[in-house]
């Protein structure tokens, strides 16, 4: 029986390979499309070059970081047999995340001109190109994540006689670290270019957006890809890996306590049927999600410009429905084979999936101009930029309330459902926490579609830019704009989803962190670890943790400020010094590469400090006292979740308030209200695309780093000052 069950684990990498094949097919299809006129291809080529240059420069500087951390892992982790494997897993996690980002960018920066070209024939074709390009990224992100985790998990299961589950943690930490730099660096890159190009081009020189005379436009277009394709992809890749890891770690921990339905024998070297299934099931849930995503792909199709949004939503709903069916089937099968009432776990996954959809919808409510909040910001723009800003900030803050409640309700449901499995035993709470892990996984099982819908955005946006710069007839631009408008909303929804998934994943990883720490300390004979909220050191940790999102927000906003200033100086210089550029003389071209270089260098320089702090602060706190660290993690989680929602939604709402005015209300383009709304939009740029997403990653990175370093903290008896003053 065990053997058969063991072989089930191999389904996961197999499905991951199917996902990769599907992604390859999509990519090949996209690349086969007509890339348009030479002028369009030239423009797309500039974006490709800029994107590639940034990624390669980024990866180069990350190599040093990865090597240093890998050495650190090998040296610092006490178990020498496991430590180099952890470091190896760390490297593979990083490499797969990089690969996903690279492939996604490669396709996206080639799909843009093909989307423009397809738009010359109609919307349906353009939608198909853009969406399939996005789904390439989506499938690659999910499939590579599943593939890596599954292989390491199988490695662990095969070597289960010598179980070192923290090795798999290393894989997630690798994905996390890359995600951190991709998000922070990408966020700084895109907003430095965007803010700089807008302030000089639109505000000072009075030329339209995406005007070919503006030297910052190519950097801006590259930035869209860097931020929303590579950045968001790495972000969800990390959440996905984390959500897969957390329930597995928790299952192993319950099994190893040797006192539950999950346990085989007391040494935990042989798992019971339920124990094995509990470890493998997350992989199968995720595999089911990938299959559902491939099915959902087919549902996205429309010929009607006004129905693009519906078509994209249909894809998401079909995927979610199919995913839940597969998960329900898996839980039913588990209940048949095993000894526990595993159908409860289905409720956990459903809670997570529903919460993800609900938070996405709430994000749409607060950031789309079809609803009251954005309309109110547009209205407030009439009395100037101060009232526009106040209304935007207050909308952002208010928009945190409902998602926070949805999140806590989902967590409560998942916990209660999970604990029903162990009801009556002393392990009820642990089963409940395992349920929280499954709910994170439920939410993230549709990752491929979420990333796909999000990565579709910059392709549509770029397609519009290329149409503008190549001087195509206005109806083409109108079609790409229809795609783009929807892309803005879906991007906001994806951000909401990303934040929610980050929070619930971090929560599950936090549980894994505590569980491993507790087990380790009691194995050392140090007794059970109870992290008491009323311990002043725990509260000190919570305060420091709550401070981190503010610190991160300040660092990343400041970075955008500085980089945008350099961009402004350069664009002004070109307008002044390149003769005939502003007049639009034939044959006079801006030096777009200079701007690309500024964004690239700024991003690379500015991402280092936040990145390094996020990795090292938890280690330092843990070395001091795991009580402080545990408080810290909860502080980062709670405050970071809210800050991230606040910043993302405020930014999205400002953006769409401006777009709403551009549809003609309150005086339309060029009115005083529009000018005020442009100010709000500019403030919102770093809010929603740099700081918010960076905090998002921060939440996960600090948790997974803490999880990986658990063996070190255990070897220090819980930290140097642990228990010294109480």
């Amino acid at each position: 029986m065990d053997q058969i069950l063991g072989w089930l684990a191999w389904i996961a990498p197999a499905v991951a390979l199917i996902g990769l094949v599907a992604a390859a097919w999509l990519a090949a299809w996209v690349l086969k499309q007509d890339p348009g006129t030479p002028k369009m291809q030239h423009l797309s080529g500039l974006i490709q070059k800029g994107g590639k240059a940034f990624l390669i420069a980024e990866y180069k500087s990350l190599i040093i970081f990865v090597v240093v951390v890998a050495i650190l892992l090998t040296v610092a982790l006490p178990n020498k047999e496991a430590s180099w494997l952890t470091a190896l897993a760390f490297v593979t996690g990083g490499v797969l995340s990089v690969a996903a980002g690279y492939v996604g960018m490669y396709v996206a920066t080639r799909a843009n001109t093909r989307t423009t070209q397809a738009a010359t024939k109609g919307i349906a074709g353009a939608l198909r190109v853009a969406y399939r390009s996005g789904m390439t990224m989506g499938l690659v992100v999910a499939a590579l994540g599943l593939f890596g985790i599954a292989l390491w998990a199988i490695f662990f299961l095969i070597n289960a006689k010598h179980p070192e589950p923290e090795i798999v943690d290393g894989f997630v930490m690798g994905a996390s670290s890359i995600a951190l730099f991709a998000r922070v660096g990408g966020g700084i890159y895109t907003k430095a270019a965007d803010v700089g190009a807008d302030l000089v081009g639109k505000v000072e020189a009075g030329i339209p957006e995406d005007d070919p005379r503006n030297p910052g436009v190519i950097a801006d277009n590259v930035g869209d890809n860097v931020g929303d394709v590579a950045g968001m992809g790495a972000d969800l890749n990390e959440s996905y890996a984390g959500a897969l890891l957390a329930p597995m770690v928790l299952a192993v921990a319950i099994a190893l306590t040797g006192n539950s339905a999950f346990s085989g024998d007391v040494n935990g070297t042989v798992f019971s049927v339920d124990g094995l299934l509990a470890i493998i099931m997350p992989l199968l849930f995720a595999a089911g999600g990938i299959i559902a995503c491939i099915i959902g792909l087919a549902a996205v199709n429309t010929n009607d410009g006004s129905k693009i949004h519906k078509a994209l939503n249909r894809g998401t709903y079909v995927t979610s429905g199919v995913t839940m069916l597969i998960i329900a089937g898996l839980c039913y099968a588990w209940q048949m084979v095993g000894d526990i009432s595993a159908m409860w776990f289905c409720g956990c996954a459903a809670a997570g999936l529903a919460a993800g959809l609900a938070i996405g919808k709430l994000t749409e409510y607060y950031t789309s101009y079809h609803y009251k909040p954005v309309k109110k910001i547009a209205e407030a723009s009439q009395t100037g930029s101060a009232t526009n800003t106040i209304e935007g900030l207050s909308t952002g803050m208010l928009s945190t309330v409902a998602p926070a409640l949805v999140l806590v309700v989902a967590v409560a449901i998942a916990f209660i459902c999970g604990s029903q499995v162990g009801a009556g035993t002393e392990l009820a709470a642990q089963f409940g926490v395992y349920g929280i892990g499954l709910s994170a996984l439920g939410m993230l099982s549709t990752t491929a579609v979420t990333v796909g819908v999000d990565a579709y955005g910059p392709v549509a946006d770029n397609a519009g830019g290329i149409a503008e710069m190549a001087g195509l007839p206005p109806e083409i631009r109108e079609r790409t704009d229809a795609l783009d408008t929807v892309g803005n909303t879906t991007a906001a929804v994806a951000k909401g989803f990303a934040v929610a998934s980050a929070a619930i994943t971090a929560l599950a990883l936090f549980a894994a962190f505590y569980t491993n720490l507790d087990r380790g300390l009691s194995l050392q004979g140090l007794g059970n670890l109870e992290i008491i909220l009323t311990d002043p050191f725990v509260i000190i940790g919570v305060i420091i943790g709550a401070m981190m999102p503010f610190f991160f927000g300040a660092m990343t906003m400041g970075a955008v400020s500085r980089a945008a200033n350099k961009m402004i100086v350069e664009i002004r210089r070109q307008f002044r010094e390149i003769k005939g550029l502003l007049a639009g003389e034939e044959g006079v071209e801006p030096d777009t590469e200079a701007c690309v270089t500024i964004s690239t260098n700024a991003a690379l320089r500015e991402m280092l400090l936040p990145g390094i702090l996020a990795v090292f602060i938890p280690v330092v706190l843990g070395i001091l006292d795991v009580n402080i660290l545990a408080g810290f993690l909860v502080g980062v989680l709670a405050c970071g979740f809210l800050m991230s929602v606040y910043m993302a939604n405020a930014g999205g709402a400002w953006d769409n308030a401006k777009k709403y005015i551009e549809t003609g209300v309150h005086g339309g383009k060029g009115s005083e209200a529009h000018k005020a709304a442009v100010v709000g939009d500019t403030i919102g740029d770093p809010y929603k695309d740099t700081s918010g997403p960076s905090i998002n990653i921060l939440i996960k990175v600090v948790t997974v780093v803490s999880l990986v370093f658990v063996p070190l903290f255990i070897s220090l008896g819980g930290g140097l000052i642990h228990g010294m003053f109480s």
Copy 2:
């Protein structure tokens, strides 16, 4: 011996009376000064009338709230003998807070014109009038707080055979509730008037600040008093009462465990010498602080306009030094009389006092234009209001880092010092927590001076307004402006102090909450309560708690937005409909009362929802599960502290960046940079004067309400769903 010690407690109300006498003397002195010309007296009269009208309207609507809550307390608290006393204490706390606010406003709104008149002769006299008016408020706030707490504590000690320490909690809850409404209502009042008057007057009509033609100016001047005198006074009155209460509750709890140096006999009905001293000592610390404040008063005196700031600082430093000397003396005496090494407690108080000063200094660094952060905001204003806003937001976020670290270091030092007293016993941690309570008290012992320095600000500001409106020669305005500029910085410093004191007081009150809860549950035979951070319900609580400051921020910002809009409409109407008003024709006067009414009504209406939520949410959560409530309190504390610092400092920095540009840099008044800075200043107005301070109160209110309702939660066995799922 016990008898003698018991009598020591009476020192506190006696010193409080001395403080009141000193305040009365100061008030009489201020009122004796020359109130100036009839025109000036008329203007001051308008402000007096507006301020009085608001306070009376506010108090009227609070009567309903106080009565409802008092009935609720009587009904909901299970111990019927104690519940009506708790309700009575609640009412007295509210009444004394109201009295303090009323007296302070009475003097401040009469000191303004007297300060203007004194300024005709020189700065020294004007400073003396303004500062003595502020100190009247400061002394009244501290003295009434000490008086009330001391009498209730003595009542408790006399009835110690039947100890119901939660009765005294009711007093603090009364102060808290009034503070909440005073802060929220006052903040909405002042900023609705300020934003409205500025946007129409300065921006649209192009008339200077405080111009007598502007119908909103009187409301604006009233608002300064309502916010910075009555609001800040009530805020610190609450912190002061809370900081006094927390260590006393903790001391009683340690004594009642019947197992420490604090305990007399095992029933806890007779305290040991150390136990009695531990309960009484907070009162004596506070009494020492009041004496030190009276001594410090004499140190504030200067004839040199450039040295006003130094003179005010001297007052603070002298007070702090004398306070520490008295506290050290008290601890030494305790160590002589008792059996414990009480000198360690001196370290706790010193840590709190030093942290308060340090956070004040840090606030000054981030908000005064003599330092880099504000200069950078001014610089960023040159590229427009978007970059000004981004820089301001990021400065605000960055400014949270150092205060958070100072706070946690102070808490750690206080805890470690305190736990040394109980070193080696199992009560070390409880002594440590008592030490945290003493550090809060150390910080707040100088409350009278802090309130005094803060309440001096609006007097100076009003004095300038009166000089302007009465058409006095410009050198008078220059002198009052010198006072006012310093007042802006000291107000920012006081805000920093208020936030820090709120956080540490809430922390101490949280410890008291847990201690009482734990003792109560185990007395019920329900075992010890351990609030485990890794319990999902605790984390759910933390997330809901962290959400509250965002919710509060959104509600209060939205309230200002709505009220300011009404104000804008009214001022525009008057400019349009009152003939000759804008032209400045002789005899044509604006209808200032209409604007006063708008601010008053808006404040009264909008303060209700936030106020009611802050009181009822903790009760509801506690009825559900004390684990959720405990997490909630820590979430509010951590996230609220940071949000409050962020908002207060961002607002202060924007304000002073504008003032910096007005000194002539970056083009000075009327330049593009100045316009951008005005936008930042306007955004900062509700940030620093409404939302930030409201969150400040929120932190304390939720904690003290939870503390008061502990007996209810105990009677429910820790909440309806407590322990059901784990």
